[in-house]
Amino acid sequence: MGPGYLISLRRQRNLLDFALGSLWRARWKNGGIVVVFSLVIFIIASFRLMVAGLEQASTAVLATVPDITVQRLVAGRQMPVPLWWVEESGAVFGIRSIKPRVWGYYFHETSGANFTIIGVEDFPGGEPLPGVAMQAVSADEQVEENQFSPVVLGQAVHQMLALGDRVNVSLFRPDLTLKGFSVVGLFAPQTGLVTDDLMVMAIDDARDLFALAPHNATDLLISVPNPLEVDTIAQKLMAKLPGSRVITKAQIGKTYNAAFGWRSGFGMICLIGTVAAFVILAWDKAAGLSPEQRREVALLKTLGWQTGDVMAIRFMESLVVCVVAFLVGTGLAWAHIVFTDGFLFKPLLLGWSVLRPSLSPVPVIRFDDVLIIFVMSVVPYLAATIVPAWRGAMIRADATL
């Protein structure tokens, strides 16, 4: 004997031992439930961890996006921005710099891949591109290089073009004439999350490639030193530039938060379907009491057990199944993300992309993610088994025996 709480603890442990014995007696049935439940939790947890990894990476990487991006819309479609917008925008007080940029997509017919072409001012001179080791061009290539425009490629583009040691590549203009480029650098592989499909070149070369008029750009990048003024400046720009669409840094952040949110897409609906199917299975398994189980409950009641004790046993059984399945499922999910970069969900995320960026969505563990996984998996199971457990505990001993 000892203090009250010690007696209570011993009692709970004895009940737990009894519940484990009961689980062990039906080990094939319960083992099956643990396996299926672990798989359900594995899928939910993998999806959540992968999305959390992408969300965290995008938040970390996109912290330096332009303060304001100005586009031009005509009939709901994005159209080139006239360069007089630069002078017009410059009249708005509080702007540090305005950079016109030309960018767009290039469909590479041989591979079927889409590349993102970005033409920037002060390239290849000016501020160096971070993470790019500019290659020195040999004397033999100098003559040839003069006819080719410099370009920096993302790693995936370089592989897709199968350039090997060659440095020259030609792309088609809209009129099917060829424009030559000389690869002067590759983006570092560890920056693939933002650069894998990029071809960065001088703004005039991009205009030439897309056959864009010299007085046009795709959009304007505006830098604002005071973050508190961004919204006001955005409103002034919208009023000043007819047909403009102004996107602020905060809106880009919001887009990515919503894009990766739980409410987005059909993926979540599929997962809810999986949980619902499992809850039905759990209900069915828990509701169908075998004659042995009924006799067991009746015997326990004859021996003096209360309905509450029988329910406590059933609750412990469910809890043990849940906790073991939760630990196995989430453990497998971590292994899936850490060792295989989420190979099960990756095809869905990349879809029919021909150019497949190297994606490695490892998240930092967060309490709210664990709580969401727990609430989405364990709570429905406990809820599904509690009513059958109560029904089972209400068996009358005299009627059963």
Partner: protein, 101 residues
């Protein structure tokens, strides 16, 4: 007595549960080691985003509105209508940009 030396079922549960938690902690630790190794890459990416004025991360390249979600035409995703059925597989995992504004 012989049966007394045998561990109780709850002891086994503790051992198995503890083992599973230990394995999980090791995996979470490995994930954080991987993340720590990427810190320099993230610094570079932030610098590239700033230098080139990039607005989006490169995940799926199959549709232009998925590749550049933040700056795409508002009517381009979901086949020109926010409530139309999306046919690109990756589109099923992303919210339409129009809903975030």
């Amino acid at each position: 007595m012989k049966w007394m030396s045998k561990p109780r079922p709850s002891t086994w549960l503790g051992i198995i549960g503890g083992g599973l938690m230990f394995c999980q902690l090791i995996l979470i630790g490995l994930a954080h080691v991987q993340l720590a190794a990427r810190t320099s890459g993230q610094e570079l990416m932030r610098a590239q985003v700033q230098r080139l004025g990039l607005s989006d991360i490169c995940i799926a390249t199959e549709a232009r509105y998925i590749r550049h979600l933040a700056v795409t035409d508002q009517v381009a995703p979901f086949m020109d209508h926010p409530l139309a059925l999306e046919y690109f597989p990756s589109g099923s995992l992303w919210a339409p940009v129009i809903s975030s504004r």
